[in-house]
Amino acid sequence: MPSIEVRGDEALVRHAIAVVTKVNKPCRRSRTLVVFGCLVSVACLGGRTAGAAAQQAPTSQSSPAIPASPLPAPFPAAPRPPAQPRFVVVLDAAHGGSDTGARLGDPLLEKDIVLALSVRLRSMLTARGIAVITTREADGTLLPVNRAETANHALAAACISLHATATGSGVHLFTSSLPATPPASRFLPWQTAQSGSITQSLRLSSEINSAMAHAEVPVSLGRTSLQPLDSFACPAVAVEIAPLSAAGGSQPAALSDASYQARVVDALAGAIQQWREDWRQQP
């Protein structure tokens, strides 16, 4: 089986489990039933994907003449596109609504600046042919669990949580401090779903770090415990943008500085594009 389909299966299974584990949490009494349901749905998904793979096998092979099955096909054999997982990026503009985030000066609020950055980055990525899903497009209150739900349903190849702060300088890149669980573990508790993607998140963070260095934006790297980052079942990085101080020898720039914002968003878009190349080459 081509390796790309194996990854598609993994993503489906992980998605199903993330959803079921979340459903399972508030309703402990029905845990057995839900886990059973999960196994059945995983089996169905697996069966369906295997069926699709079997149907596609002749089309993807250029070698000659495997005789067709004499059994009548139960459904008309509609031509299907090859099952390639889509490269989707989830942009999470943090805070919103009653949660204003940091006060970055009168009247600048974190929730507004990260929304503007998210919209800007989304259009930049879309222009480069990258599918983007945003957790919010307007100023509204969103619980961390809703953000994680959006990210985990999208089976995203990268999840970027955008924050802004008045302290520090440059861009702060944070990955989850959860311990990495081996890729073999399939059942991920909702609160710590990120533990299955830590290694990839660190690689994504390193990709963004390189792009920022190229754009001459100082970066600090760190690991922390933060919601909804810990619940994202995708390679995830929290990007916190601080003003540029003169201390690092760089030209000082405020958070509201349009050219500084453009530099950061450009670098982020470049890093995600590079991540897509790496992602395609992954086994």
Binding site: G168, S177, S220
Partner: protein, 200 residues
């Protein structure tokens, strides 16, 4: 007709009762005065019985996202919980000074530190740090600044009191979701865990 000797006894007893009442009232006033004087002479702060000792603070720096060890001389009490509280109060008081490298609100910061043995382990203690509501309300909001405050507290506790291996945070005695909108305060932090860190 009351006999004369009974009248004399009555008057003598009445005089004795009045005299004893006066003596008792006077004695009570004296005792009150003595207690009052003793209370006035009581020192407000415990005298520094222990000599000043060298402690290591892990000081956060917002400019480069680093934590650096800084040695200080301070007198600390013997009791470990009180030692931990004074250490942290000194650390956070330093952050509230004008030329601090990591700005936080000027307030008591840490109300109390409770040390308790770990349930399933022979060694090690958990420190429950009770932060003051005023400190948390005035803390700047941001992933880096909040993470560094927590790491600085955890690192300073573990460096000076190595028996502290786990740290939990409460605010005014109550559990709280985050420090100032970001760093998680609901979890138990492992003092030796290097996965929570900030580096340039």
């Amino acid at each position: 007709m009351i006999p004369r000797y009974q009248k004399i006894i009555f008057w003598i007893l009445l005089g004795a009762a009045i005299l004893m009442s006066i003596v008792l009232i006077r004695l009570r006033e004296r005792a009150h005065d003595r207690l009052q004087t003793a209370a006035d002479k009581m020192p407000l702060n415990a005298p520094p019985i222990a000599p000043a000792e060298t402690v290591t603070m892990l000081v956060a720096n917002d400019a480069d996202g680093s934590l650096s060890p800084v040695d200080q001389q301070i007198a600390l009490p013997e009791e470990p919980g009180a030692r931990a509280r004074i250490l942290l109060q000194r650390l956070l008081a330093g952050y509230a000074e004008p030329h601090s490298t990591h700005h936080v609100a000027a307030s008591t910061g840490v109300e109390e530190v409770f040390l308790m043995p770990l349930a399933r382990q022979k060694e090690g203690q958990m420190a429950v740090v009770n932060l003051s509501g005023a400190f948390v309300e005035g803390h700047p909001s941001g992933i880096e600044t909040e993470t560094m405050t927590l790491l600085s507290i955890i690192g300073t506790l573990h460096t000076n009191l190595p028996q502290i291996t786990q740290v939990r945070f409460v605010v005014d005695g109550q559990p709280r979701e985050t420090l100032a909108g970001h760093a998680d305060l609901t979890r138990v932090y492992l003092a030796e865990d290097k996965s929570v860190e900030v580096r340039r």
